[in-house]
């Protein structure tokens, strides 16, 4: 049986076909506005290139930046009700308080604060004001809002009030989807609430997008299940994305790093993904991208998703090479995906980083004769500059002084030298479609992150075991095979300044997806 991985980027839609651990074929097509046409083209081309029988495809895994781009470009977002349960806590900081004005206007600025919530040890902060929820339901109907997001203080400890609020809203404004923050984010109210609101505002786009993927697969004659990759490089069933589009926000860089690990078999490495305009650099540890420890901005809104710790610089195959007073500068301006028209070596009139790589004999694309007249000193200085830029960001991403290999992926990775500082550069086959490979090999995860009260004889070990059991249950519910599950993150942080009875525990497990394994 075969697996198909598709990466729907802003510019290109890439597709690969894998048989077990072998990549049979990889292709690139242009992303289209409706998504469908680009996906169909990529699918047809990759099926043709591999020569397989399409009925033998067991599953399709799709990675997409569609929802991230919607937020960044402020498009396709609905007006939603943002309901917070927790008064009197947070009275001074209403929902969306730290959002940029334009995006707050787009989602309608319908923030509500209601009595409710829990304390860190599970006590009730305030009883839930159910009458107020019923009143808000009336406003949702009157305003014709498309969805609601409900966030309760310490819902990670007790989700009863979020569930009860959803029940009331379903009863009093049927048909309006309700997002509960406990399903979306982690500890930290404002960031989790913002993520839940964004998620609610993207629900109809998610619905249309998943339908477009479905249509593309049907038109390509595929009847197998399909999955979408999420931030941590693991999968969710397509229908789940209809409910949780924000969980795909960082899947792009994650997929390319996971793909790089798979293509090389390396578990600990620095991954450099060179595109047309930018280069993303991150560290792999145990085969997974290292996670950022701080909050992450999405379109100017702070969220606390776990995102890969990726460092970007404005250097890519299409970067403009300019000779100035202070020597050669490269990027951040770029011709981007137009490099195949505008670069000198493709007959264009713009000097790009790709031309430098060709002139220096590092790459064999386009027509070398077209860059033969470039001044050798200029080429030498530009190569040195590119190497220095890459070395600086690799150095910044290294986890330890232990030498690790550097994996070069992405369409622009012809810019990479054979060594970066004291590190060896590895160039896997199919480097240009590593992100689609990352999608194809994605696993299923389950995660717990909440504060446990160590009272009534509950030990730290017991709480850790409880958290792990929860995470495993979630993974199995998401489609993982239980005996393939392994814990990849386990941390507990006792709450400083409080006597030792409360500790925040985070556990994450991953396993193989049932649909294609075994």
């Amino acid at each position: 049986m075969y697996r198909v991985g598709i990466d729907v980027g802003g510019t290109n839609t890439d597709a690969v076909i894998l048989k077990d651990k072998t990549v049979l074929a990889g292709v690139k097509a242009s992303t289209t506005e409706d998504v469908t046409a680009g996906v169909i083209e990529a699918l047809e081309n990759v099926i043709a290139a591999s020569g397989i029988d399409r009925t033998a495809i067991a599953a399709v895994m799709i990675g997409t930046t569609h929802f991230t781009n919607a937020v960044i470009e402020r498009r396709h977002m609905d007006e939603v009700a943002a309901i917070r349960l927790g008064l009197p806590s947070g009275a001074g900081l209403p929902p969306m308080v730290d959002w940029p004005d334009d995006i707050r206007e787009i989602v309608g600025n319908h923030g509500y604060q209601v009595k409710g919530g829990y304390e860190f040890d599970g006590r009730i902060l305030s009883p839930l004001d159910e009458d107020e929820i019923v009143r808000i339901a009336g406003e949702i109907r009157a305003k014709g809002l498309k969805a609601a997001a409900v966030t309760c203080v310490f819902s990670g400890i007790n989700d009863t009030m979020e569930l009860r609020t959803r029940e009331l809203l379903h009863r009093h404004c049927p048909g309006v989807p309700v997002v509960m923050s406990k399903d979306i984010g982690r500890h930290g109210l404002l960031a989790r609430e913002s993520a839940a609101i964004m998620n609610a505002s993207l629900l109809s786009l998610a619905d249309r997008t998943v339908a477009a993927f479905q249509k593309a697969l049907v038109q390509a004659g595929l009847t197998c299940p399909f999955y979408i990759t999420q931030n941590d490089g693991t999968l969710m069933a397509a229908d789940v994305v209809r409910a949780f589009p924000v969980l795909t926000f960082a899947s792009g860089p994650t997929n390319s790093m996971r793909g790089a690990a798979f293509l090389t078999g390396l578990k600990d490495a620095v991954v450099v993904d060179v595109g047309g305009t930018t280069t993303d650099v991150g560290s792999l540890s145990h085969g997974f991208p290292r996670q950022a420890s701080t909050t992450v901005d999405i379109g100017g809104v702070k969220t606390n998703f776990r995102m890969p710790d990726v460092f970007s610089i404005g250097l890519g195959g299409g970067s403009l090479v300019v000779k100035g007073e202070n020597g050669i500068s490269i990027g951040p301006k770029s011709v981007g995906y137009r490099v195949r028209r505008e670069a000198l070596c493709f007959g264009g009139s713009t000097l790009t980083a790709t031309d430098i790589a060709v002139a220096a004999g590092k790459a064999d694309v386009g027509d070398r004769a077209l860059v033969r007249t470039l001044d050798a000193a200029l080429v030498g200085a530009a190569v040195a500059r590119i190497d220095a830029m890459l070395e600086a960001c690799v150095e910044r991403s290294r986890i330890s002084s232990t030498p690790v290999p550097v994996i070069a992926v992405g369409g622009g990775s012809i810019l990479m030298p054979d060594r970066i500082g004291d590190l060896e550069v590895v160039r896997p086959e199919n480097f240009a479609v590593a992100n689609a490979v990352g999608a194809a090999i994605a696993q299923v995860s389950g995660e717990t992150d909440r504060v446990f009260s160590l009272v009534d004889g509950r030990t730290r070990e017991a709480a850790l075991a409880e958290a792990e059991a929860e995470a495993r249950d979630k993974a199995i519910a998401a489609g993982a095979i239980s005996d393939t599950l392994e814990v990849i993150e386990r941390e507990d942080t006792p709450l400083a300044y409080l006597p030792g009875n409360a500790t925040r525990i985070h556990v994450k497990v991953v396993g193989e997806m049932g649909a294609y394994h075994g």
């Binding site: 900081l93 304390e119 404002l190």
Partner: protein, 373 residues
């Protein structure tokens, strides 16, 4: 306290703070937090909301107020991890102020900041703004420390009780007398657990002449200037770290990459050790930083070079933004800056409370960093 109150200062001496000042203060307070003190972000949001609602934040030099004016110091108490989930109600500080005025049957004339480093820089501004009082340009630490008795006010003999502690529910607790500052800290810490892990605490008012003599002066203007320097350096693509050193009389003592980080818990505090491998002019050297909430000790090649109460500040080597202890991770590239603390923190009485011995290093003597000429 509705009757017209006689002002104890010249209104012309007040400096009104702006949104930009608060943005700069967020960074400056982070730097003076020396790794601890909590994240000022949420406090800044509350302060910005108070400005938006039309309240004004007026800063006043400590020597610009009459000596007998009553100044009330205030700060947050509790677990930062709780505070990011169960956000403050916003008027806890104002309720502390009103309860204190009722308790002592006298109006308070000005608000004082307990701790300029970290999150506690912001809440006194909100209290002062909501209460219509000026905030004095000073604080009780000049940086961040983990416990209440570590203020210059306590060190130099001010008894912090009676104090008032208010939570977001509306509860107010009065500690009428503590036999020592450590007892006060201990009782308040127990009470804050009952109150849900976070509260505001206002201590017994001081007369302005005491504050003038024993507070760390100009801490707000310093912190704001620090933040402005970082923002300006980033905009002009200058070196933000040099800008911080120039302002604070500090010096860059190391550029290094984090090669190891051990964390554990001791007596309710997050403690740890950080190992650094040098680069740039420090290639081949190693350094380590001992942590208990804040950065406590800096060692180069195993030899102690800087200790509390002098400030050990870690900044992101590229952006100049402060790095708090919870943000530390393997591989990060940091600049270490040493800033001499104020003389008020260097007396024998102060070193007993905030010197290395107070943090569990009885064998390490404080050797003060030289001050810039």
């Amino acid at each position: 306290m509705a009757e017209t109150r006689k002002l104890k200062y010249d209104e012309a001496a007040l400096r009104t703070l702006t949104r930009d000042d608060l943005e700069a203060l967020e960074i400056g307070a982070g730097i003076l937090g020396t790794g601890g003190g909590g994240n000022p972000y949420q406090g800044k949001l509350l302060a910005l909301e108070a400005l938006k609602a039309g309240h004004e934040m007026k800063l006043l030099a400590t020597d610009a107020i009459e000596p007998d004016a009553l100044c009330m110091s205030i700060g947050g108490i509790g677990a930062p991890v709780v505070g990011v989930e169960r956000i403050r109600e916003g008027r806890e500080g104002l309720r502390c102020l009103r309860a204190m005025e009722e308790l002592i049957r006298m109006p308070v004339d000005a608000i004082v900041c307990e701790e300029i480093g970290g999150a506690n820089s912001m809440s006194p501004l909100v209290t002062a703004a909501l209460g219509g009082l000026p905030i004095l340009d000073c604080d009780g630490m000049g940086r961040a420390f983990p416990e209440m008795q570590m203020t210059t006010f306590s060190i130099y003999g001010h008894s912090s009780t009676p104090s008032v502690m208010c939570d977001l529910h509306g509860n107010a607790v009065i500690f009428s007398h503590a036999v020592s500052e450590v007892w006060h800290e201990r009782m308040a810490r127990a009470c804050v657990v009952a109150q849900g892990g976070g509260a505001m605490l206002a201590t017994a008012p001081m007369q302005a002449h005491f504050v003038h003599q024993f507070a760390i002066p100009r801490s707000y203007t310093n912190a704001i200037a620090l933040g402005e320097a970082v923002i300006r350096a980033r905009r002009m693509q200058d070196d933000p770290i040099q800008a911080v050193c120039d302002l604070e009389g500090g010096r860059r003592i190391f550029n290094g990459k984090i090669t190891d980080l051990k964390r554990h818990l001791r007596g309710g505090f997050a403690v740890g050790d950080l190992e650094l491998a040098g680069f740039d002019g420090w290639a081949g050297e190693t350094a380590s930083v001992a942590i208990q909430n804040e950065f406590l000790l800096f060692r180069r090649n195993g030899v102690v070079e800087v200790t509390v109460p002098d400030l050990i500040v870690l900044l992101d080597v590229d952006t100049g933004y402060p790095i708090t202890t919870e943000m530390l991770r393997y591989g990060q590239r940091v600049a270490v800056i040493a800033i001499p603390c104020h003389d008020l923190l260097r007396s024998p009485a102060a070193l007993e409370v905030v010197g290395p011995a107070a943090f569990g290093y009885p064998d390490i003597a404080f050797s003060p960093l030289p001050k810039a000429a």
